[in-house]
């Protein structure tokens, strides 16, 4: 048999039948996770057609997008629409027999944080879910990707999706990450180089020593964020780190079954001579912390750089887009990005709200205080992360530094709840999207790593975190 990529192997192992001779297949999906805002119309469709959920045990439902993150948690929602969505979500969980974590459940959190915590996703699976950041599951050696509501309904009714095979791209991360350069910076550098559509239509496999050395949490960061370059699916070959992460999780196999599964999982990899349609290599040793200046995730620069001149853009439409972005962001070409003051600092989102992210941020906040005039909030990715951060003393570091310590949810990543910026407010944000209006109409978002957000919070302006690392403090 011809050499195959891991992506091809995972797809091949899930083809129920071919639907044409050009790569359109009926693809079996092993798992999904559902949220309250992209699923309601899918369940309504099932109800209207009198259809059942094919395999309720394969799904998990968790409230995350619309709930408040105020420290005192209650079932009350910030508005009538959110309340209706959560009520309908609970009703659907009950009527269709799907496991459900409501807002007061100790396992609640952002779906892409909770699903791994529960061991829902295992190597070799196909996981499609109703949120673009479902590429997260590539970090576990599964094929993870996002789908819309119609495909959620199709999945729920059939455990399959209609799927066209993708081209493959390997992103090889060579070298070693310098001090202060995190997985977030690495993936932002890749996006900056290949563009916001650089991986559109591709399934991406990350490889190389940087990936091997990266924690599973770090791999989740790059798997999630590469969707901002258009990646339609992500896989990373599983290794012992993935096994160590999964062992003992509630939904992971136990005993003899675990041993059997683990042996199989460690064989999952691209063949050495497998061919990819596109290869991208990045020497991570040369990467500096990255910050966005515009309203597309590829409008980014190293923190040491100045804001680029739109006239350097190749096409007139790109130049116009850059000008529009600068106007929206209230910035001018030539300005050092480190001179830009911020109003708000947000640490959270499925990309950067896990325990490692909070440790990185706490290292900067320890012994320092949020700058005058800046409001900073930390929204842990799950209630379990929140509990762990409190046990490790991180929460106290945040509150001592003047940072608000919140309950978990998607929060200000998309501002569907009551965590919304005012027009014109400028936010250093550990999230994944800097689109116009993403954090509120007129709000200005600069994407960066959690440690960089913490650095901006304590100095009051965008700051090279490396200047605060390892220095004298206390």
């Amino acid at each position: 048999m011809a050499a195959r990529t891991l992506y091809d192997k995972l797809v091949d192992a899930h083809v129920v039948r071919n639907l044409d001779d050009g790569g359109l297949v009926l693809l079996y999906v092993d798992r999904t996770v559902l949220n309250e805002y992209t699923s309601p119309q899918a369940f309504a469709g099932l109800r209207a057609a009198g259809r059942k959920v094919w395999n309720p045990k394969a799904a998990l439902m968790v409230v995350d997008h619309v709930n408040p993150t105020a420290a005192q948690r209650t079932r009350a929602m910030p508005d009538q629409g959110a309340a209706r969505q959560v009520d309908y979500f609970a009703e659907n969980a009950r009527d269709f027999g799907i496991e459900y974590f409501d807002i007061l459940d100790p396992r609640q959190g952002i779906e892409h944080v909770v699903a791994p915590e529960q061991g829902l996703v295992m190597p070799g699976m196909v996981v499609a879910a109703g949120d673009s950041h479902s590429t997260a599951y590539g970090a576990f050696g599964a094929l993870g990707y996002g789908i819309g509501t119609s495909d959620i309904e199709h999945y729920l009714a059939t455990s399959t999706v209609r799927y066209r095979r993708l081209k493959t791209m390997r992103i090889h991360l060579a070298g070693a990450a310098p001090l202060g350069v995190t997985p977030k910076d690495i993936v932002m550098e890749v996006i900056r180089r290949i563009g916001a559509d650089g991986a559109t239509g591709f399934a991406v496999e990350f490889s190389g020593p940087v990936v091997s050395n990266m924690s599973v949490e770090g791999r989740i960061v790059i798997s999630i964020m590469i969707v901002e370059a258009g990646a339609r699916g992500v896989v990373i070959a599983p290794d012992q780190k993935v096994l160590d992460y999964l062992e003992g999780r509630p939904r992971a196999p136990k005993g003899e079954m675990w041993e059997r599964a683990a042996r199989r999982w460690l064989t999952l990899a691209s063949d050495p001579d497998a061919r990819f349609d596109r290869e991208v290599t990045l020497d991570v040793s040369e990467v500096a912390p990255v910050v966005t200046w515009g309203t597309s995730p590829d409008q980014a620069i190293a923190v040491t750089e100045t804001i680029p001149d739109p006239r350097q853009q190749a096409a007139p439409e790109r130049e116009a887009a850059a000008n529009r972005a600068l106007n929206y962001m209230g910035l001018t070409p030539g300005l050092p990005i480190q001179s830009v003051p911020i109003d708000f600092a947000f640490i959270g989102s499925c990309t950067n709200s896990r325990i490692e992210d909070l440790r990185d941020a706490a290292e900067i906040f320890r012994g320092r205080h949020v700058a005058e005039g800046v409001r900073a909030i930390v929204v842990p990715g799950s209630t379990q992360v929140r509990v762990q951060a409190e046990a490790e003393g991180l929460a106290k570091v945040f509150t001592d530094a003047g940072v608000e310590w919140r309950q978990s949810g998607c929060s200000m990543c998309l501002a569907m709840n009551d965590d919304v910026l005012r027009p014109g407010e400028r936010c250093a944000s550990s999230t994944n999207r800097n689109f116009e209006g993403r954090q509120g109409p007129g709000a200005r978002t600069h994407l960066m790593s959690p440690a960089m957000v913490a650095a901006a919070a304590v100095t009051g302006r965008i700051t090279d975190v490396r200047s605060l690392l390892g220095g004298a403090r206390q």
Partner: protein, 202 residues
């Protein structure tokens, strides 16, 4: 989904790159449990300013208010998976999008709802965008069966590609779930084999 045969109407140019689904459907309109009211949401922050129509926005301009096609820039529909963006465009009267490339999830969402997306070479899209930027010749006819776009008052025509299965689904307005459930026995057989090989998957 809504079937698509031959559709004629006004095309509006919207050539910015990377128009994301947050811009197409802002978060304030995502709080429903059904698909209603999304026409108001479509491009809301661009269409309105201070509660009034924004005269700078193409769909508020003379000759483009009833556009049913958009000629768009690269990577249209990037970002969030929210299908509300597609429902909103349809409720605004948009039947097809013509551009160089569409974001993956958005493109699938369009296909699942009968909103036709047509991908063409950049030069061809630019030519079409330039033609329809003149409101006296912004009428376009898309004939899916013939796979052609007629524009410039019928004087010019572009051929486009579409996968046969997708074309058939658009022409007939296929119910995808019903058509998949025809293969229910195949799914059950696959599932039994898959679980035997991977018994840790329940």
């Amino acid at each position: 989904m809504i079937p698509f045969g031959q559709v004629a109407g006004v095309a509006a140019p919207m050539m910015a790159p990377n128009v994301d689904t947050d811009v197409i459907m802002p978060k304030m309109f995502l709080k429903g449990v059904d698909r209603s009211g999304l026409g108001e949401g479509a491009f809301n922050l661009l269409r309105f300013s201070g509660g009034k129509p924004n005269p700078d926005f193409i769909l508020n301009q003379e000759g483009y208010r009833n556009a049913c096609f958009l000629v768009v820039g690269p990577n249209f529909g990037c970002g969030s998976s929210r299908e509300h963006a597609v429902w909103g465009l349809q409720q605004l009267g948009i039947r097809a999008l013509i551009g160089t490339s569409f974001a993956g999830i958005f493109n699938d969402n369009c296909a699942n709802n009968g909103l036709l997306t047509i991908s063409l070479d950049p030069g061809v899209v630019t030519e079409l965008a330039q033609a329809v930027a003149d409101s006296s010749r912004n009428d376009v006819t898309i004939d899916l069966a013939a796979q052609t776009i007629r524009f410039d008052c019928g004087r010019r025509s572009i051929a486009f590609d579409i996968e046969p299965d997708r074309k058939e689904a658009f022409l007939t307005g296929r119910d995808f779930i019903a058509s998949t459930l025809v293969f229910a026995d195949d799914i059950r057989a696959f599932e039994a084999r898959h679980r035997a090989e991977n018994p840790w998957i329940v």
